[in-house]
Every structure is written in structure tokens, then in C-alpha cells.
């Protein structure tokens, strides 16, 4: 704020010193001669010297006046002496002060009485002498009064100048402080002419203060206002300040967005005189905001698209569920009826054909069912609770065992954690992994299936299902979890290839990962991770 005063102060200072010089010229002596007399701190010796000089001057002035008057008298100029003595007294009073003035008056009266009044060359005091004496005294007092008035004025002037000089030093300091700030600050007068331009302004806009001062601010900066300038100005004049975002152009032509704060300065009469403008560069911030806004818009659009495609998928799944299964059922039904009614007349080959029809229809039905179940997992709402995985595993093992009668399976169920998740979904994970293990150990005389847990890390637990079955080649590991991906021929191991895809989808929805290790004929291990719960191990 202070900066705006600087130029005014400078002007005042210039005026003040000019005035002082004028005064000095009037006096016909350097302006600081008086101050030497008055300046305290001079020694007693110099004061005495000053007095001697002053009184000497008085005597000398009277002596010179007397000499000139005498010369004039000899030339017959009888009116000369009085003005000469008045001048001498004036000089004595002006430069000497009261004492030398009094001395000059006395000397002048005596000299005048002795030399120029009748009877001449005598100290006889007549009425003429008395008149002269009174004239001299009145004149001396007048000069003295004039001098004292003059001195007082001079003194006031000097004090004002000193104060101004002090203020200038202070303001200059403040102005240089303003130069230190990173903020961009400039001052413009009411005609939009720049009168101050700090270092920050130079850094941001590129013009030096010498280049900027004197220019029209908004022409130089090509300011673009968010609302008509008249409105901004009205606000500024009404409240004394305005804040807003402005677009400006730098010296090199690039555009910047600034957060501008304007403050109006008024003079003593309340008239607006200048505007202090602070500008902070928010170009980068605006760019980021714009980018975020764009990203958000993109995100919203994408989420709308996703929602739409999800709805479509749902409709697709629904109609698949209703409409695709019906013709399959009919194919299977009529093939069965054909098999039954035509069996006696069909040969072996034809009976096989019908059997194949039936088998394919059934397989198609299974595929559709699995696919629908898989798509439901993606769409179904997750109802999360704390799930004791150990208990769930025992349940699933007994269920899977029922479908594997006559098999010799050694189950090992280790300590399993409690997870926060959807119980029915996690159940499906275990059903898929454990029934896979049962299936792919079919060729073993004694199957070994283990389910356990390794303490993954601080954030997650890792559960594994290990078997001693036929395993798989690690080079196909990437295909294991794909939909309808199978690593075995249908006649070796049945299945639709949806089980592990389901596992992966469920685990992903629970914030975990799935992976597998194995080797041909040496078993397989399937792992899944899940975020730890505070429940810990069960």
C-alpha cells in the first residue's frame, strides 16, 4: 500500500527543496548559512568568534556608510546620509541580530549627530538628532521583526524538508521491500497510467519498471475482464476494492490468468487518485482445474456409457436366460422322444446320432447356465460380512466329497483366516477350486488335496489349494483364468472352462488377486489373496 505514496512524496520533496532554494536566493546567501549559526554543538570559542564578527560587521557597516556619506557631502549631496545609515543598520540587524543592531543604531545616531547635523562636528543633541534616533530605532525594530519572521519560516521549511527526507527514506525502504515479494504489484493512476511497477511485476509480465511506468496499464497488458470494466470500476469506487480473475498478456505474447486484487487510494479530499493492483499468476492452477474438470466430465460420460452397456448386458443375459434355453430344451426333448419311439427301427449308427444330439443340447445348456452364472457374479450386489473361511472350507469339502464317492481322497485343511466378503461368492470360489482339485486328481490312486493359508504380508492374506493331480504346463498359465479357456480335452476332463474365470472375478471384486503354479503331471497350486481383516486367523 505504501508504494503508491512514493511518487507523491518525491514530487513534494522536489517542490520543497525548490522552495528552499528560492528562499536562499532571496537572501543572497546559501540556504544553509543560517542553519550553521543555529546548529547546536559548536564550541564556545566559535560562538565568541561569531559575536565578534557580527559586532564588527555592524561597526564596519556604519563606518562604510559614514565614509560614503562624507564623500557625498563633499559632493554637495545633503540627502544621501540618512538612507545610507538605514542600509547600514539593516545590514547589521539582518546579519548580526539584536545586539549588533542596537550597536549600529547607537553608532549611526552618534556619527550622524557628529558629522551631519548642526552644529557639525559636535555631539550637541538637537531635535533633529532625536528625530533621526527615533527613525533609526523604528527602522531597526522593523528589520528585526522581518528577520525573525523570515527565520521562523525558514526553520519551518527546513523541518518539513527533514521530515520529508525521512519519510522518503522510509518509503523507499518499503518500496524496496515490495520489490522483494513474489507478488506482482503495480500502481496505476485514475487515467490508467502505471506509476509503480515492482520486481514481481517484471518477473511475471516481462517489462522492466522503466518500460512499464508511464504506459497505460490495460493496453500494455491487454487485460480481458470477466465482466464489463464499468462494473468493476463501479465496485472499486463504491467499496474501495475489487477481486477477480483477469486474463493478461506478457511481454513475450503468452497469456496468463491472474488472481487480481485492486485497492483504491483516495487523497485527503476523498478523491480517488490511484489503484494498487496485486496479481498472482494462477495460470497453472487454472490449467489443472480445467484438466480436472475435463477428466471428471470424461469420467461421468464413461460411467454413463458403462451403466448403459451394463443395462444392455443385463437385458441380454435376461433374454438369453429365457429365450435361448427354450429351443435347446425342445431339441433335447424331441430327440429323447425320437430315441424312445424310433429305437426299435433305428440301427446302431442312427441311435448314436440321436445320442450325440442329446449330448450337445445338454452341453449347450450347461454352457449357457455357466455363462449366465458368471455374468451374474459381475452384476450381483455384494453383501459383505465376516466369513470364517475355515468353516466354509469344511462345508464345501463335505459337499464336494458327496460328488466323489468311491474316490480315495486325503483332505488336509489348514488354519484359514476370517475374511470380510460375500459369503455365497466366497463359497463359490472354494467350490470351484476344490472341485477342480477333485476332478484333476481323478487319475491318482490316492488324491491329496490341501487347503491352507500363508501369511502374505501386512495388508493381505494368501489362501492356496494344492493337489497332486495332472497339473498343467506353466507356459499356458496365462490362459487358465480366461472365460471358456480349457487346458484339457473334453473327453479327458469335462467342464465348460468357466470355473476359474468365476474365481478370478469374485476375488477381484474382493480386492485380491489369483495366480497358479503347476507342472505337467506334478500337481497344481492355486492361490488367491484377500485384504486382511482385524478378525485374524480362525
Amino acid at each position: 500500500m505504501q508504494a503508491m505514496f512514493r511518487s507523491d512524496v518525491q514530487t513534494k520533496l522536489v517542490n520543497a527543496s525548490a522552495e528552499a532554494q528560492e528562499v536562499a536566493r532571496d537572501q543572497g546567501t546559501p540556504s544553509d548559512s543560517g542553519s550553521q549559526i543555529l546548529t547546536p554543538g559548536h564550541g564556545a570559542a566559535s560562538t565568541v568568534m561569531e559575536s565578534i564578527r557580527a559586532y564588527g560587521l555592524a561597526v564596519l557597516a556604519i563606518a562604510i556608510a559614514s565614509g560614503i556619506a562624507l564623500v557625498g557631502d563633499l559632493q554637495g549631496l545633503s540627502r544621501v546620509p540618512t538612507p545610507l545609515f538605514l542600509i547600514a543598520i539593516a545590514v547589521a540587524v539582518w546579519y548580526g541580530g539584536r545586539g549588533p543592531g542596537a550597536v549600529a543604531v547607537v553608532l549611526a545616531t552618534l556619527t550622524f549627530d557628529y558629522l551631519f547635523t548642526q552644529p557639525r562636528y559636535s555631539f550637541h543633541v538637537g531635535p533633529e538628532d532625536r528625530d533621526h534616533f527615533i527613525v533609526f530605532i523604528v527602522f531597526a525594530v522593523m528589520i528585526g521583526w522581518f528577520v525573525s519572521v523570515r527565520r521562523r519560516a525558514e526553520e519551518d521549511l527546513r523541518r518539513a524538508r527533514d521530515e520529508l527526507a525521512e519519510a522518503v527514506v522510509k518509503r523507499t525502504e518499503q518500496a524496496s521491500l515490495l520489490d522483494l515479494t513474489h507478488d506482482t504489484i503495480f500502481v496505476r493512476d485514475m487515467n490508467d497510467v502505471i506509476t509503480y511497477w515492482n520486481h514481481g511485476a517484471q518477473e511475471l509480465f516481462g517489462w522492466t519498471s522503466a518500460q512499464a511506468i508511464g504506459k497505460a496499464a490495460h493496453e500494455l497488458l491487454e487485460t480481458v475482464y470477466p465482466v464489463p470494466f464499468e462494473e468493476i470500476n463501479a465496485e472499486l469506487l463504491r467499496s474501495g476494492r475489487w477481486e477477480g480473475e483477469l486474463r493478461k498478456t506478457k511481454a513475450d505474447g503468452t497469456r496468463v490468468v491472474v488472481a487480481a486484487r485492486w485497492a483504491l487510494r483516495r487523497d485527503e479530499l476523498g478523491q480517488p487518485v490511484s489503484v494498487l493492483a496485486t496479481n498472482n499468476d494462477i495460470t497453472e492452477q487454472k490449467r489443472r482445474e480445467e484438466r480436472i474438470r475435463q477428466l471428471n466430465a470424461d469420467l461421468q460420460r464413461r460411467s454413463r456409457e458403462l451403466e448403459a452397456s451394463n443395462k444392455e448386458l443385463e437385458a441380454f443375459a435376461y433374454s438369453t436366460s429365457h429365450d435361448l434355453r427354450a429351443p435347446l430344451r425342445h431339441m433335447a426333448g424331441y430327440s429323447e422322444l425320437l430315441q424312445k419311439s424310433a429305437a426299435p427301427v433305428l440301427d446302431e449308427k442312427s441311435r448314436r446320432y440321436v445320442a450325440m444330439l442329446l449330448e450337445s443340447a445338454k452341453r449347450m445348456g450347461d454352457l449357457i447356465d455357466d455363462l449366465l452364472a458368471f455374468s451374474r457374479i459381475g452384476r450381483a450386489e455384494q453383501r459383505n460380512t465376516l466369513v470364517d473361511l475355515g468353516q466354509l472350507a469344511r462345508e464345501v469339502v463335505s459337499e464336494v466329497e458327496r460328488g466323489a464317492e468311491g474316490r480315495n481322497i486325503a483332505w488336509r485343511i489348514g488354519a484359514l483366516p476370517t475374511l470380510f466378503g460375500d459369503r455365497s461368492m466366497l463359497r463359490l470360489v472354494l467350490v470351484n477350486l476344490l472341485s477342480n482339485a477333485v476332478k484333476f486328481t481323478r487319475t491318482r490312486a490316492r488324491a491329496e488335496i490341501e487347503i491352507g493359508c500363508t501369511d502374505g504380508n501386512q495388508e493381505e492374506v494368501v489362501v492356496f489349494v494344492r493337489d497332486n493331480g495332472v497339473g498343467f504346463d506353466m507356459k499356458y498359465v496365462a490362459k487358465l483364468f480366461g472365460v471358456f479357456q480349457r487346458l484339457h480335452r473334453a473327453e479327458t476332463f469335462e467342464g465348460t472352462g468357466i470355473g476359474l474365470a468365476t474365481v478370478q472375478r469374485i476375488i477381484a471384486r474382493h480386492g485380491g488377486r489369483v495366480w497358479a503354479e503347476g507342472a505337467v503331471d506334478r500337481g497344481a497350486t492355486f492361490y488367491f489373496s484377500a485384504p486382511k481383516t482385524t478378525g485374524g486367523q480362525s
Binding site: Y318, S321, H322, R325, R329, R376, A380
Partner: protein, 151 residues
């Protein structure tokens, strides 16, 4: 097989009708089946309207109801039945292709008595139909006002 009840089959697909009747026939249940092709006809039958205005005043022992039907769909038929003080006692079995959870939930919320998904495999289909027929038409005691064969 002492007392065969009347079965109302609401099914628009003639192949499904044929297969269902075939399945019921294996257990000698086909004779007592009335087939209607859409929801409107089903309601006409139950309310003695239109072509059914003159039929005997008897309710079926069980209604086998498909969900995807022309004109008035299965869920709407179910809703109307279960709102009606007289008709809501008739057991309704939804017999549908759909395994969709929302159909199942909606049906149970409307008060269906059983929900059966038609299996693709014909043997299973026959078994399902047989069990349905035997349970609802023979074992189950229908509410008063339902017709029983031989009663």
C-alpha cells in the same frame, strides 16, 4: 391314483405344451390338464369370462404358470390371483426357463407356492413335471372349491 385334480397349464409355446403333456402322460396325469396360451386367457378361465363363461364352477387344483407370456405376462397373472380373496388359495407353480434371480424374487414376493426352472435335459424335465403333478395334483390337499377327479 385315487383323486386326480385339474391342472391349469399356462404356456404359450406349443412345443413346451407338447413336451409337458408328454411328461405328464407318462404318469397318467395328462387327461386333467387344461391348456391356455397366454395370461389373458388364463384370467378369462379363472374368472369364467369369454369362451370360459359357461364352464363348470370349479377351481383347478394347481396352476402351472410360465412367466414369459403374450399380452398379460406370468407375474401380472400371479399378482392378480394372489390379490383375489377367492383365487389366492389356488396353489401356483411358476414353471419357467429363467433362472434369473429377479424373476424368482418377484414371484416369491407375490406369494408363489413353488418356483421351478425347466431343465434342458429331458429326463430331468420329465422328472420335474412328474413330481410337480404328483405332488400338487395328488398328494397335496387342494383348498375347498377345487375339483377332484372322482369326488
Amino acid at each position: 391314483m385315487s383323486a386326480l385334480g385339474r391342472i391349469l397349464l399356462v404356456e404359450d409355446d406349443p412345443k413346451d405344451v407338447e413336451l409337458t403333456l408328454t411328461a405328464l402322460d407318462e404318469y397318467k396325469l395328462a387327461n386333467e390338464v387344461v391348456v391356455v396360451g397366454d395370461g389373458e386367457e388364463a384370467l378369462d378361465y379363472l374368472y369364467y369370462r369369454g369362451t370360459f363363461a359357461t364352464r363348470t364352477k370349479e377351481s383347478p387344483a394347481v396352476i402351472l404358470l410360465d412367466l414369459k407370456l403374450p399380452k398379460v405376462d406370468g407375474l401380472e397373472v400371479l399378482q392378480q390371483l394372489k390379490r383375489d380373496e377367492k383365487l389366492k388359495l389356488i396353489p401356483v407353480v411358476v414353471l419357467t426357463s429363467s433362472r434369473e434371480e429377479r424373476d424368482m424374487v418377484a414371484s416369491y414376493q407375490l406369494g408363489v407356492n413353488a418356483y421351478v426352472v425347466k431343465p434342458v435335459d429331458f429326463h430331468e424335465f420329465v422328472n420335474a413335471i412328474k413330481e410337480l403333478g404328483v405332488f400338487w395334483a395328488i398328494i397335496n390337499e387342494p383348498p375347498p372349491g377345487s375339483v377332484r377327479k372322482g369326488s
